[in-house]
């Protein structure tokens, strides 16, 4: 188990609109020597992960991370060509190689990597026990034993579909030195984004609209309680004797808000379970994590770039819907018990028939033999 380190980062007062609350994240320490650039893709992409595996999704943009020390390209320049863009039945489609690909340095740009934000994290989640059952119990179909769970898919809601998120981002006033934001919808923490440099954040501020959110967040944005701004409590001023006391009250309020924001982000900070390194970038590492999928409060997937001292240069998280987390948890439990259905059912506290129903409800009915798939 690991924890994210928010060292060197502080929080500013939140700005709210309808059910959307955005908490700005500022960097106190000097910026890490990395810069992010956005490369527009705006196409469906089939990413070739290895010889036999493909990852397919709609990709709005890719991020290119480069060392800040080398020559920098101006924003908007077309960076290296990634794959061929074709049109299939009116939709743009691109074949890409690898979710995170190293880019060599040429005369104009420093070396770095191109990766697909959020998809790096989601692929880690979808790859959980993707190969299917390891033990050939009689209950499992031939297909599951031979092909595993292919195709393993999850559906998310795009940020542009969330109620008033577009308006909230448009009216949000970006602070000086802001490097990231924590996005809350209603009472739920939806996503955290941190970038290396304030200019990078300005360029990526609106990418919340193309991000992916679990479907409970759609309902939370629509029906959740309006996020009221938290005003300073006037009674704190009841004992001031001088202007210095007033300044002290303002400072104390600021510190209290810091602590409160840090507490609200605890569920992301303590989320990482299956940490894995995707790529090394000099002293930094591109990593991804999946959370503890046990039924509980919140499940946050994420990807990050951490420096040698553990400080976060880049972070992006995604909140899974409970149903999606349940799916992952089901696979994990089955795998933990050697894919034996009776043992796994005992461990979960249900009968075997109920476990079969759960497997079918989760959408994995194809892994069972036909006669077991019928509900009864």
């Amino acid at each position: 188990m690991a924890e994210l380190s928010f060292a060197g980062l502080s929080f500013a007062p939140a700005q709210t609109w309808a059910s959307v609350r955005v908490v700005p994240i500022m960097r106190d320490a000097p910026a890490p020597p990395l810069r992010l650039a956005r490369q527009a893709v705006n196409a469906g992409a089939t990413v070739k992960l290895d010889a036999r595996t493909r990852y397919t999704s709609y990709v709005p943009h890719a991020l290119v991370v480069r060392s800040a020390a080398g020559p920098q390209a101006a924003y908007g320049t077309a960076l290296t060509k990634d794959g061929t863009l074709q049109k299939k039945r009116g939709h743009a489609w691109m074949d890409m190689h690898r979710l995170a690909k190293r880019l060599p340095s040429d005369g104009r740009h420093a070396g770095g990597a191109r990766f697909l934000p959020l998809h790096v994290a989601i692929e880690g989640f979808l790859a959980l026990h993707f190969g299917g059952p390891d033990v050939a119990w009689a209950a499992y179909s031939e297909r599951a034993l031979r092909h595993g769970f292919s195709p393993r898919w999850e559906a998310f809601c795009a940020g542009s579909g969330l109620y008033k998120l577009d308006d909230a981002l448009r009216w949000f006033e970006i602070r000086d030195g802001q490097v990231g934001a924590a996005l809350f919808l209603g009472s739920m923490l939806a996503s955290v984004m941190i970038t290396p440099h304030p200019d990078d954040y300005r360029a990526l501020h609106r990418t919340f609209l193309t991000d992916l959110f679990g479907d409970t967040l759609y309902w939370e944005a629509l029906y959740g309680a309006p996020a009221a701004p938290l005003p300073i409590a006037v009674h704190q001023m009841d004992h001031v004797q001088s202007w210095d006391d007033v300044a002290a009250v303002l400072d104390a309020d600021h510190a209290a808000r810091q602590a409160q924001s840090a507490a609200m982000l605890d569920e992301v900070r303590t989320a990482p379970r299956g940490l894995s390194t995707v790529m090394k970038l000099g002293a930094h590492k591109l990593m991804r994590f999946i959370p503890d999928l046990a039924p509980g409060a919140a499940h946050h997937l994420g990807e990050m770039i951490v420096g040698a001292d553990g400080h976060l240069a880049y972070l992006k998280t995604l909140r899974l819907a409970p149903k999606q987390a349940r799916r992952g948890h089901l696979l994990q439990t089955l795998a933990a018990h050697d894919w034996a259905l009776p043992t796994a059912a005992d461990a979960m506290g249900v009968t075997e028939k109920q476990l079969l129903n759960r497997i079918v409800d989760a959408g994995f009915g194809a892994m069972l033999r036909a006669h077991l798939r019928e509900r009864g």
């Binding site: 007062p13 602070r175 000086d176 701004p229 005003p231 009841d238 001031v240 007033v246 009250v249 303002l250």
Partner: protein, 494 residues
């Protein structure tokens, strides 16, 4: 159960704030449609509930958008509202003079709106005919051709002299005796005649004759209005092959304060630094001119502010939208310039001081943190200020309620007894009022820097020092004075 007097006072204050702050254009938060919808409701409410006060507000120094709206509502519904008896003479006089104060383009657009709404009563026709009789119809027909044409048709106004042939017939094959019409006819063929036409009409001909932009703008400058000259100053500077865009002092001289500030805010910081002498001189001139136009009573009210502390919100939302860029910030800075010129002791703090603390280099940047600037400006020198003014659009977020808390502490614990006012340049159509920063702080709308005087006047009313009847008497006195001064002038305005 709130009593009728309090309801009346709140309604009148709501309407006055709407009239000072609303312009029907999109703001940072709400779109144009929402703004127009909100103001239309407030106008309809006042028309039916308080018709006499509604008409008297025409003389209260409100902005032209709302004045046009009031005239439209009064003409469209001659019998709506309370007090049916004999109110028309005063209303007619107010309408006539309000139309003369407005720019002609706005008046003709109002007439077009009346036409589209199929308003055709005798009173409307009389008002329109009276307006047409007071204008130089030859000039108007040249500059607002389409509008004049359809207005004449609407009210069956005879087109005297060459107006008829000019508007309704082809210019080819005849010459005109009126010099303006003849210049217009000649401009179809001759480049020299183009420079005798008004600027907007000459633009089309310049394109036809393919006159280079720089030469055209230089030679047509005597024919431009002040606003056009100011608007095009930067275009001229950009076209002139000068190393840095230089604004000429003459171009800036005719602009009102907030337009001048909007021009300054559109300049990059280096350009502002390079031309700061020119800019400061233009600001001082504009402020003196604005102060010179105030009545003695208004001037006295301004000076009664005493030691003033001013907090300006220059957060990102003060940038506004593309059509009215930087308007909120320009109003705030205009208020500062006006007060700085009129009063000896003015302290100012910006919510985001970017480049030193000189407001000339202000920028709409960052989030709305008003508590600390307010604290700084109130504690700065040994003596507490006598008045505190905050110019902000009301969306305080770092943290929310900061102004309320600091003012509460100042009033209850630190002995502040002075006058505090929140000036808000933006109208919120959802609440039908400019957004308030604090429940204990009076909020008044203002869209032009000189509105600060009107704001002070209405603030007294809002703080309960004046009753609605008192306000009505004051408005009536002001209206009669306004009408009288216009009659003394004796003529139509250009």
């Amino acid at each position: 159960m709130p009593d009728a007097a309090r309801i009346e006072r709140e309604d009148v204050l709501l309407f006055l704030n709407c009239c000072l702050a609303a312009t029907g254009q999109a703001t940072f938060v709400h779109g144009a449609h929402a703004q127009q919808f909100g103001t239309a409701f407030v106008h309809a409410y006042m028309l039916h509930g308080y018709r006499r006060l509604y008409a008297l507000c025409l003389a209260a120094g409100i902005n032209a958008y709302n004045a046009a709206e009031i005239v439209f509502q009064l003409l469209r519904a001659p019998r709506a509202g309370t007090e049916v008896h004999a109110r028309h003479p005063l209303e007619n006089a107010l309408i006539t003079h309000a139309l003369r104060e407005m720019s002609p383009a706005r008046v003709y657009r109002l007439f077009a709106r009346l036409r589209a709404a199929r308003v055709n009563n005798r009173r409307t026709r009389a008002v329109i005919k009276g307006y047409l009789a007071s204008r130089d119809l030859a000039f108007d027909a040249l500059k607002y051709r389409r509008h004049v044409k359809s207005t004449l048709k609407h009210v069956h106004h005879p087109a005297p002299g060459e107006l008829g042939p000019f508007l309704f017939q082809s210019p080819h094959g005849r010459t005109f005796d009126t010099p303006l019409f003849e210049a217009w006819r000649a401009a179809h063929f001759s480049e020299r005649a183009v420079y005798e036409l008004p600027y907007t009409v000459a633009e089309g001909f310049a394109a036809k004759h393919r006159i280079p932009r720089e030469r055209f703008l230089a030679r047509i400058e005597p024919r431009m209005t002040d606003a056009e000259r100011g608007r095009l100053a930067r275009t001229r500077a950009a076209h002139a092959k000068a190393p840095a865009a230089q604004l000429s002092a003459s171009a800036l001289s005719g602009l009102p304060l907030e337009r001048l500030w909007a021009t300054i805010l559109a300049l990059p910081l280096k350009a502002r630094e390079a031309q700061q002498d020119v800019l400061r001189a233009a600001l001082a001139r504009a402020a003196r001119r604005a102060l010179g136009r105030l009545t003695g009573e208004a001037r006295a009210q301004l000076e009664a502010l005493g030691r003033t502390a001013l907090v300006i919100d220059n957060s990102y939302s003060a940038r506004g939208v593309r059509q009215t860029r930087h308007r909120s910030l320009a109003v705030a800075l205009g208020v500062f310039t006006l007060l700085d010129t009129a009063l000896p002791d003015v302290r100012v703090a910006l919510s985001h001081p970017l480049h030193a603390s000189d407001p000339l280099f202000a920028h709409a940047h960052g989030d709305t943190a008003l508590a600390r600037p307010l604290l700084d400006v109130m504690r700065g020198t040994p003596r507490m200020p006598e008045s505190v003014l905050i110019v902000s659009d009301g969306w305080e977020n770092a943290p929310a309620g900061g102004v309320h808390a600091v003012l509460h502490a100042a009033r209850t614990r630190l002995g502040f007894r002075g006058f505090a006012l929140h000036i808000n340049p933006v109208f919120d159509p959802v609440d039908f009022a400019p957004r308030a920063l604090s429940t204990g702080l009076t909020t008044v709308g203002a869209r032009a820097s000189s509105d600060v005087v009107t704001a002070l006047f209405f603030a007294r009313f809002a703080q309960g020092l004046d009753t609605p009847e008192g306000l009505e008497h004051t408005l009536e006195r002001g209206a009669l004075a306004w009408l009288a001064e216009h009659d003394a002038d004796g003529g139509a305005h250009g």
